[in-house]
């Protein structure tokens, strides 16, 4: 885990190292200064030696200045290194997720990916900042302080050499007990956030069913569970302070007793006893810091693991070594013995033994019941998923041998669950082709029957869309999405139930425009309405992951039971007219 993350320090190691250097200087000075302080009292003031006091005082002044500079530099350097490290991890995560295939994304869920790129990354960044500044400081202070204490009195040192292991054991016990409890708490925390998020997106359902009381009780349950888990975990951590105080106080009393005896026996000076106590306090403080650091590391360790999990995720759709990058010349599609399932371990195939070939420029309609795998079927063409068995060919090449960018540039797809981004309408449309002339954009919008309603907005193409396009209606959104795909001028265009919220008349004129302007383009249309597909060259009937029948509207109407039934259910009223 550390190895994976250490890579992202690249370019910032020099800041991190320089910071450690500053921290070391600061730590050494911070221990030496109290030494000076003791000397001023013990030697200078006791002997009324003003020169000595001023000399040591000036030395101390100089040391403080150096320590201040080192501290200030350390603050800058650690910030530079820490923020750099954090930003590189964030970038690595973002880039990695852009490389994810659909099935990689499905595996993690969007919400969890967002948390990993935001909250978890912040945690790791904070941990690094702390480590950079403390990981060397505390041990150095510990070692130096013990060394100095030993030079003052080598026998008394044994007192806290006795205490330190006891203390260490106690802290280990706390951490050991608390860590699993903290992990449990973090899970509860995730759960709480997820339920708030869900409540937010479903707020209309909650209100429509008058379930706010129910939701409040549900929330109370998870909120209380979080509180209890957190109290359980923290009730171990709070032992830290009393245990530290206990060890410190015990040390002081023992040192007073034994040290006092030594002073009485004149084997130790009074001043030495005083500074010894000071050092004991300092040593135990360093230990305290170390234990805090350790606890924090363990807690953010959970976040680091979640990040590494994403970074090490194997991407299952990658370009083959000698992927074909040249332009695709036609929009022919061929399915050869294609079977597909979403997870390797599932037993049932979602698509079974599909064989089909589609000519360039053909218009294909796809009809099928709810859950008959229509969406899955078309997603194999731009290689959003890889087939489990068999092969899919575009322009007579296996899609796995075509460069992914080339392939997806050639296949325009309008997803069923589509998304618009915040920005102007024009910016959104330019996703299709950044360099498109405005005329081309307008043409695409006219073909998608979007131009008129866009012009009805006061700002026309410059109208600002909210995130997710929530300020346009469902049907308008779908038409913008179609236009966006058309601007790509693809060889193949796939409409996955893309006109479900568009009225029949508009739907008809979109199809009319398609026929006129896209006669060269292979078109696949998934629809529920017969009217959306009936003028297609061929219509595929999907049933339970298999092709039930293929034919023209008239053929299917005369021979296919499913098609007849669908047709009758839709056309009754209209035909009687």
């Amino acid at each position: 885990m550390i190895k994976t993350l250490a890579k992202y320090l690249k370019g910032y190691e020099k800041y991190a190292l320089a910071c450690i250097f500053c921290v070391v200087i600061e730590a050494v000075l911070e221990i030496m200064i109290p030494f000076m302080m003791a000397k001023i009292v013990d030697v200078g003031i006791t002997n009324r030696d003003l020169d000595y006091v001023i000399r040591v005082g000036l030395l101390m002044f100089g040391m403080s200045l150096v320590s201040l500079l080192a501290g200030a530099a350390g603050s800058y350097l650690s910030s530079k290194a820490g923020m750099g490290f954090g930003s590189q991890i964030r970038k690595a995560l973002f880039d990695k997720i852009q490389d994810f295939s659909f099935s990689n994304i499905d595996k993690f869920s969007t919400a969890s990916l967002i948390t990993r790129a935001t909250a978890d990354t912040n945690n790791v960044q904070r941990m690094f900042l702390m480590l950079n500044k403390m990981a060397f400081r505390s041990p150095i202070m510990l070692v130096v302080a013990i060394a100095i204490a030993a030079t003052i009195n080598s026998q008394l040192v044994f007192i806290f050499l006795l205490i330190v292991p006891i203390l260490g054991f106690a802290l280990y016990f706390i951490i050991h007990k608390a860590f699993p409890l903290f992990e449990a708490m973090l899970k509860k925390y995730d759960g709480l956030n997820a339920s708030v998020q869900e409540n937010l997106t479903s707020i209309r359902v909650v209100k429509a069913f008058v379930r706010s009381k129910f939701e409040k009780i549900k929330f109370k349950t998870s909120n209380d569970a979080l509180m209890e888990a957190s109290i359980k975990a923290e009730s171990f951590i709070i032992w830290n302070l009393p245990i530290m105080q206990f060890s410190t106080y015990l040390c002081i009393i023992l040192i007073l007793w034994f040290g006092g005896g030594m002073v009485m026996n004149q084997t130790m000076l009074t001043g030495e006893l005083m500074s010894f106590i000071t050092y004991v306090t300092q040593i135990l403080m360093s230990l305290m810091m170390l234990s805090m650091l350790f606890v924090n590391c363990l807690i953010s360790g959970a976040s680091a693991e979640r990040i590494v999990e994403v970074l090490n995720e194997e991407i299952d759709i990658v370009n083959s070594a000698n992927a074909y990058k040249g332009p695709l010349s036609s929009g022919t599609i061929e399915f050869k013995n294609v079977s597909f399932k979403y997870k390797k371990e599932s037993e049932d195939y979602v698509l079974k033994n599909i064989n089909l070939s589609i000519q360039s420029g053909e218009t294909i309609g796809i009809i099928g019941g709810t859950g008959s795998s229509k969406t899955t079927f078309v997603q194999l063409i731009p290689r959003l998923y890889d087939v489990s068995e068999g092969s899919v060919l575009v322009d007579n090449r296996d899609v796995r041998e075509i460069d992914v960018v080339t392939l997806r540039d050639a296949v325009g797809m309008v997803l069923q669950k589509n998304v618009l981004f915040s920005g102007t309408i024009e910016e959104n449309l330019r996703w299709g082709n950044e360099n498109a002339a405005f005329e081309e954009i307008k043409e695409a919008c006219i073909a998608a029957c979007a131009h008129d309603f866009i012009m009805d907005f006061p700002d026309g193409y410059q109208t600002h869309l909210d995130q997710g396009g929530t300020n346009v209606s469902g049907g308008q959104k779908q038409r913008l999405c179609i236009a966006r795909a058309l601007i790509k001028k693809p060889k193949i265009i796939i409409l996955d139930d893309s006109t479900s919220a568009v009225d029949t008349a508009t739907d008809a004129s979109i199809r009319k425009a398609f026929n006129e302007t896209l006669s060269e383009t292979t078109t696949l249309i998934i629809a529920q309405r017969i009217s959306s597909v009936q003028d297609a060259d061929r219509i595929i009937i999907l049933n339970d992951g298999m092709i039930d029948d293929i034919g023209t509207h008239d053929e299917l109407l005369s021979r296919n039971a499913i098609y007849q039934e669908v047709y009758n259910s839709q056309m009754k009223g209209v035909i009687s007219e």
Binding site: S67, I253, L256, V574
Partner: protein, 622 residues
């Protein structure tokens, strides 16, 4: 809920955070006392060092072992031990109490947030991004957590020590205390200058974090679209810019914040050196004795430590204030007002009279109080719009002069081009939004008089966007009627034709749906939403594009079931598909917020108007 990082009226916000902590006054007072006790024990323990060394150890130097009187020495050490034990015990006690109190307080803050969220009008959610509201629960509550558990006690502790040692120093040497005061002023000015600067940069850092998080959220939500359009490279570049900006702002903010510590610490060392020098001259001139200077120097060290500690809390308190302000802004939002008085009750008929009863009878009545009296009006589902005018924003009317009536048992359909205002009409019936002019009556009662909860209970809605919960399929359907038995749930699923595919799921009805039901197809999600409405067994049903992703064969089966269920009750349907609306009793054709045609399917086709036009898309080709 703008990112108002500037804690205007910081004191008030701080008091409000404290008010959450002080729900249990006794505990709070106890904590404060324990903290003072704990830090006093520390100061007192240190205070004992000097007399022990001077009065008990020094006099025995050189005295032979046998002649030493240990008893008083041991007594002193025991007293010290007792004080320390008291200190340790009170440390644990206040830590424990504080931990419990702050967890309880955070729990209450979250509860207040969530409960307020449930009571806010739908309009609030139209104008506030989800990410913004979510950050209240994550970032903002987190910053408060830190302040509550750490800063609060740390400040009390530091203050106790500071006040205690300051008094001692004043007693020892007023003239040297002046140096300490000067040091304090310098420290204060430094904190103020650097703190002020770092607040500016922290605010900029928060804004940069917001931008990065927002971008991440939007692009991850749309990642499938990004991939379909090969937009990965461009997205990464934009992200890079935002990320670098965050890095630079954060570096400055963090440098400024962490620089305070070394400055404070070393300032105190310099002060120490100064006092030593000046004190030494005073000793030589005879105005100060050695012992006093030694203790004074000792005190000056224990004096600066808590000051440094407090300066460390400074930033976290500022951050917490900013977080708390955002939280309180949400808690203080105006809730959805409900001044309805009419309630919905179950009734049964006794001797031809309607009588209110407890059990579910599938007959409802509106209970309309008039002073002490009340009347029962049988709920039939008669919905009327009288000259209704409405707009989401003040100057932009969406619906103009809508007049319509739905008689009990009728199926009313709304058709029309996208953006014509169909969904809006249904949002007015259940009062997600309030109309600007005109009135809507329900069984003759103005809906403004009806309690919102009761009004909405009487209407079951299937919304255009299907939302499911992370729960089992069974519980998701049961959402429509929490008292439904498993059998009733399954019956509803069968009615919605969802039973078949549910049984094919790995754990059937016990399958847990994940992340808004994304392991189901769009159509299957709609079937579940319909089952959820069916199990509610409502007097009035509103279907807003409820079957748009369902194939027409399945739809026909559902429709049969629904027609049976809703016999004698009112149904509102919004759809584009003719097959969905064809058998409605009345079809309203909406255009630009006005009803331009109404009638049944046959009549409207005969009119050859807009409806005919809408249908011809299908008709021309048949």
């Amino acid at each position: 809920m703008k990112a108002a990082a500037k804690p205007q009226n910081g004191g008030k916000t701080l008091l409000r955070i404290l008010s959450y902590l002080s729900r249990n006054r006794v505990q709070l007072v106890l904590v404060v006392m324990l903290v003072i006790l704990s830090s006093s024990a520390q100061v007192a323990g240190n205070y004992f060092l000097k007399p022990i060394i001077n009065d008990y150890i020094m006099p025995m130097i050189g005295v032979s072992k046998a002649a030493r009187n240990y008893s008083s020495f041991i007594m002193m050490l025991c007293m010290m031990a007792v004080i320390y034990v008291v200190g340790i015990c009170s440390s644990y006690a206040y830590k424990y109490l504080m931990m419990k109190m702050s967890n309880r307080a955070l729990n209450e803050i979250r509860t207040d947030l969530f409960n307020k969220m449930q009571d806010l009008p739908v309009k609030y959610y139209d104008t506030h991004a989800h990410g913004e509201i979510m950050s209240c629960y994550t970032n903002d509550v987190d910053t408060i957590r830190e302040t509550m558990s750490e800063s609060f006690t740390a400040v009390i502790q530091s203050l106790t020590t500071v006040i205690g040692t300051f008094t001692m120093m004043m007693v020892l040497s007023p003239s040297l205390t002046v140096i300490i005061v000067i040091m304090m002023i310098i420290m204060f000015l430094t904190i103020r200058t650097i703190g002020g600067k770092s607040r500016i940069y922290f605010r900029r850092q928060q804004a940069a974090i917001g931008k990065v998080n927002g971008y991440v959220e939007e692009m991850f939500e749309g990642v499938k679209v990004v991939k379909v359009f090969n937009h990965e490279k461009k997205i990464c570049d934009t992200f890079d810019d935002l990320n670098k900006q965050l890095r630079d702002e954060a570096t400055i903010a963090n440098t400024l914040a962490s620089i305070i510590m070394p400055i404070m610490g070393n300032l105190s060392y310099i002060t120490y050196a100064l006092i030593a020098g000046i004190g030494a001259t005073q000793i030589i001139s005879g105005t100060l004795d050695v012992g006093s200077l030694a203790s004074f120097l000792q005190y000056s060290r224990s004096f600066s430590q808590p000051l440094v500690n407090m300066s460390q809390q400074f930033n976290s308190i500022l951050a917490a204030l900013a977080g708390a302000e955002r939280i309180f802004a949400l808690i203080d939002e105006k809730p959805e007002v409900d001044d309805g008085i009419v309630t919905l009750v179950n009734v049964e008929e006794v001797d031809g009279q309607l009588v209110e009863c407890e059990k579910r009878t599938n007959r409802w009545a509106w209970k309309h109080p008039h002073g002490d009296e009340f009347t029962l009006v049988e709920m039939k589902g008669d919905v009327r719009f009288h000259d209704v005018v409405f707009g989401y924003e003040e100057n932009h009317t969406v619906l103009k002069n809508i007049n319509l009536f739905a008689k009990p048992g009728q199926k009313i359909a709304f058709v029309g081009s996208t953006g014509a205002g169909k969904t809006t009409i249904t949002n007015l019936i259940n009062r997600f939004y309030d109309i600007n002019k005109g009135s809507i009556t329900y069984d003759g009662i103005d809906i403004k008089l009806i309690k919102k909860d009761d009004l909405r209970t009487s209407l079951a809605m299937v919304l255009q966007d299907t939302h499911l919960f992370t729960e089992t399929v069974m519980e998701n359907i049961r959402y429509g009627n929490l008292n439904a038995t498993d059998e009733e749930v399954i019956a509803a699923a069968k009615l919605a034709n969802a039973d078949g595919f549910i049984r094919h799921l790995p754990q059937g009805y016990q399958t847990i749906l994940t992340a808004d039901g994304s392991n189901l197809s769009q159509g299957q999600r709609q079937l579940l939403a319909i089952a959820r409405a069916a199990v509610a067994n409502p007097p009035v049903l509103i279907l807003d594009e409820a079957t748009s992703s369902i194939d027409t064969r399945t739809e026909a089966i559902i429709q049969d079931g629904m027609d049976r269920l809703m016999k004698g009750r009112t149904v509102f349907v919004i759809a584009h598909r003719l097959s969905t609306v064809r058998n409605a009793n009345a079809i309203m054709v909406l255009e630009h917020g006005e009803i331009i045609e109404r009638g049944d399917h046959e009549e409207l086709l005969a009119q050859k108007g807009k409806y005919y036009q809408l249908c011809t898309g299908a008709e021309e080709l048949s």
